[in-house]
Homo-oligomer: 312 residues x 4
């Protein structure tokens, strides 16, 4: 028990949560978009109506080429051409580069396609695990979001609510704190919105340096996913990746990903940074904004590196 909350989740409780937030079949047997279906044109237009100052903010980390405790797979960034190369038109030279990355993990801001999370041999909506093959994902790839995810973004800032600079790795956020943050910030999650959950992960990293986030990070308690389901949010982004690690869920190590991506059909945005966003929210005294997420068109991909933008 922590602050009146029971951290432990038994296998039975987890299975019950899974059934409770499951959307399989809701948008048809062949649907591959999951909660993105919640976004209508009206939601997009409403989001645009939030734009007043025109300030824009990145929610992405810079691509990290340096291996470290939370970056076992550093980005490959190589210059492929410099001014030393005559291209046959002499006063003109080009500078070019190569960038490559395994974008999942804890170091690189990215979006998870629905095919990223396999649970009991199934993808979201019941697709077979085997539909993600060595040649790529045949269903539920990030291609479903190729035209961008555009909606109202809402930042729930838990460290702000608690009056701390950041949550410590391993700490869990329960539903009551989400509700309290809504109230404190004067926002309310509704259908089609994109929820950005700030735990202060990146703030801590900036101040204390990197740690192995694969074994310790703050995030949601499994029980909190019911609220995200009830409110019909369209996508979910976190510094960290949404999951509290370690957790006391007996069923799986990443219950939030299983409930969110697999059961609900929610696209996750992992390893974001909200330091610029939090500052912009404070200065605008507004914790909602237009957000635009534009994944690369990796049509058999399990996600994409991404630079989500908030527009005020």
């Amino acid at each position: 028990m922590v602050d009146g909350h029971d951290l432990h989740v038994s296998v039975e409780e987890f299975e019950s949560m899974f059934e409770s937030v499951k959307t399989w079949g809701r948008w048809g047997e062949d649907d591959q978009r999951g909660c993105l279906n919640y976004i209508t044109g009206q939601h997009v237009a409403d989001a645009a109506s939030l734009v007043h100052s025109g300030a824009t903010v990145s929610l992405s980390l810079p691509l990290n080429t340096a291996a470290g405790p939370d970056n076992p797979k550093p980005v490959n960034h190589f210059m492929t051409m410099l001014a030393d190369t005559d291209i046959g038109s002499d006063p003109l030279r080009f500078a070019c580069d190569y960038v490559g990355m395994e974008f999942h993990g804890d170091a690189h801001s990215h979006i998870d396609a629905l095919c990223h999370v396999i649970y009991k041999g199934k993808l979201h909506n019941g697709a077979a695990a085997e539909s993600v093959r060595s040649s790529g994902a045949e269903v539920e790839s990030i291609d479903v979001a190729s035209a961008g995810i555009v909606s109202r973004g809402v930042l729930l800032d838990i460290p702000r609510l608690r009056g701390v600079p950041w949550l410590e790795p391993g700490e869990s956020v329960f539903t009551d704190e989400l509700l309290a943050a809504e109230q404190a910030q004067g926002v309310r999650l509704r259908q089609g919105y994109v929820l950005y959950l700030r735990t202060g992960h990146h703030r801590r990293r900036l101040e204390l340096g990197p740690w192995d986030a694969a074994v310790a990070k703050a995030g949601l308690h499994a029980s909190a996913m019911q609220l995200l389901y009830d409110r019909r949010i369209a996508a979910f982004g976190a510094d960290g990746d949404g999951d509290a690690v370690p957790n006391r869920c007996d069923a799986v190590v990443y219950p939030i990903h299983v409930l969110g991506v697999n059961a609900m059909g929610l696209h996750f945005l992992d390893s974001l940074q909200f330091e610029d966003l939090a500052a912009a929210c404070e200065s605008h005294q507004r914790w909602e904004f237009m957000t635009v997420i534009a994944p690369l068109r990796l049509d058999r991909g399990t996600g994409s590196p991404v630079n989500p933008i908030a527009i005020f």
Copy 2:
């Protein structure tokens, strides 16, 4: 002479054009953002006010992993984990991948940072060519656009103006056609807008198959850059890459890139596809829209793969 236009540009004429559209120093000696400075918060808010239907469209090609006549550097896309891998939490499995690419060239939708184009040993604004090093770009990297490029996008559709499905490779577009397209479509380029120029490159590719676009593509004639300068546009995207190839400019093989990126400080978006956009414009009977360009945060990069979004 083609239709009353002289295609030939002498070295002297080119140098004169260069001086005429040069913005070096306009935003300070140390400025690295060039024409992005034209975008104010007001432009962003105005762009958002264009959003009504909420329809969103991608202006990017799918990432192309297959080598071909216009794709000598295919994207590396590899699955790094499949459902066959026990991650130590048995009912849960992850599917992951690696993506890598040399994004410049004619196959991959990308943005050119200002440091991409070196002319006579200088980058835009007079920075030394040597500031782009084997370790990456120290100035004018794509990092200057890390918070996204958000503004009003305008599509000028030249094949539509001409009543043809596409321009043939090598054809040039002059100022008069840009003006005529404005008039035909009821739009006008103004400060801070993003110009998307459709030559039908991708339509031709879809119907006739790929060709070596490095040696033949439709684009602007050098003389047309004066209009882009006068109108103070903020960024410029094309199917193809803006340059007519081959051209009859004696000075350089890619005059549009030299005038646009190097002299003017204009970020270019190359190898876009406007087939979905053109259809959306027709159906909305509107050739302007909010556009959001969100490059990856490659902080020493000469650009980034990118998926620009149009929002109606």
Copy 3:
């Protein structure tokens, strides 16, 4: 019928060939080295005794970074550091690079590990196909050859036998020509030897330019594998990759790989070049030599790029 040979191989004939050359279980149920077991220390010492002039020759193609008809997956070669980078010890600078490749296919000289070829759900020696996973090969990886393959190499030069510069793509080599080449060159394949089969593939490429070797190349007829089995060779290398493509085998498109790698347990070396070797053999008037094959230690790999050496 071509020159008295029936090119057609029925499914039944192929299955019979498969059984006839199958070595599964010969070196134990858990063996992963296949025909490499044929090489004893005595074979290595005998091979060394062939060295007289000390001339050494590469049997590898240069790594090919240019996409082309036979190179859909060009090598990634990028400079990662140049003399422009101060490493903190000023008069000293380093030049460094990155090299990456998908080494299988028709463009890059490489060795096939036994796990590369799966037939009817089994690897050589009956291992399950599933033992090659997204995380790499758990059995029969190229790691079994980590200490090198060192033995007597024999070049059988079929164009020399026929008095032509090269075999045309699609042509098949039958057993009688292997025997005739042995006789013409004064060599005899014996246990533990490495057979290099020259079809003149690379000579043709040098003179006529590249073609799509995936659809047309000269190689062995399926019936010729019996001789390789009978003679107990240890490894097999070819310009091309050993298989005649297309062929008239009803069972599979690459019968030589199935019979050789899967049934026999023979490591294949594909896409070699023998132009330097053929010249060296002529000048020494000797078609056998010491050969050393040193794969990279890619311990879960399905093979490796490799530069086999012949020593005279």
Copy 4:
């Protein structure tokens, strides 16, 4: 002073050492092979005459895909095809992979081309630093060793001499220990030989785990290079990379590389492992053997990953 040796090397002393071991011009102004010129056919034949038992040993580490203190640039190894992919010939499937790496550094066994080390703006033999460009090395690339380096290898085992399991990081080896090791092992370095210097680096790593070898490793003292020069060795390999780090040389941080690669024209083999080799030497009671080094044919490369083989 350590054991009567002065560790400190002044700038003047270093420059004097540089001049003393410099071979520039010895093999012609345009020579790119440096000390490889010392190997004649007779040396190759003599090396082969050492082969008796036929035992072969790898001197390479396995390719390391896991980031760690001494591996900031882990190898990219990805499976590109598995048995899940129908290639259009159904009972047959292929398993394929991609391997990519920045091979320099302290984690991956590799060979340094002569162009790897730039000192005062010059490569070995006086070539300009600018001849190594963003498009690759135009001179002194590893291509000069494309036919392999084959000669007599000699292991000098310093921990064996000292009666310790390994040298501690930072410890230096002086000429007298090289001479003592020769005597203890009954070998003598002569023209054209390949010197392998064991410091026990890998043994220490196996027993104590990895450390940041970029800042601490055992190796030669600068003064010891005179012996390598006098004896006219052809190539030099080390666990570690030959340099003692840190050292007390005022001129540069890696004096051994500058003296060896740049002044002498000696190809270095870095980050080897000699544990298998040391055991083989003990069991054969012989510290010399035939060695074959077969770099990949990276014709503009600054080196290559490599798996050197010792044959007894």
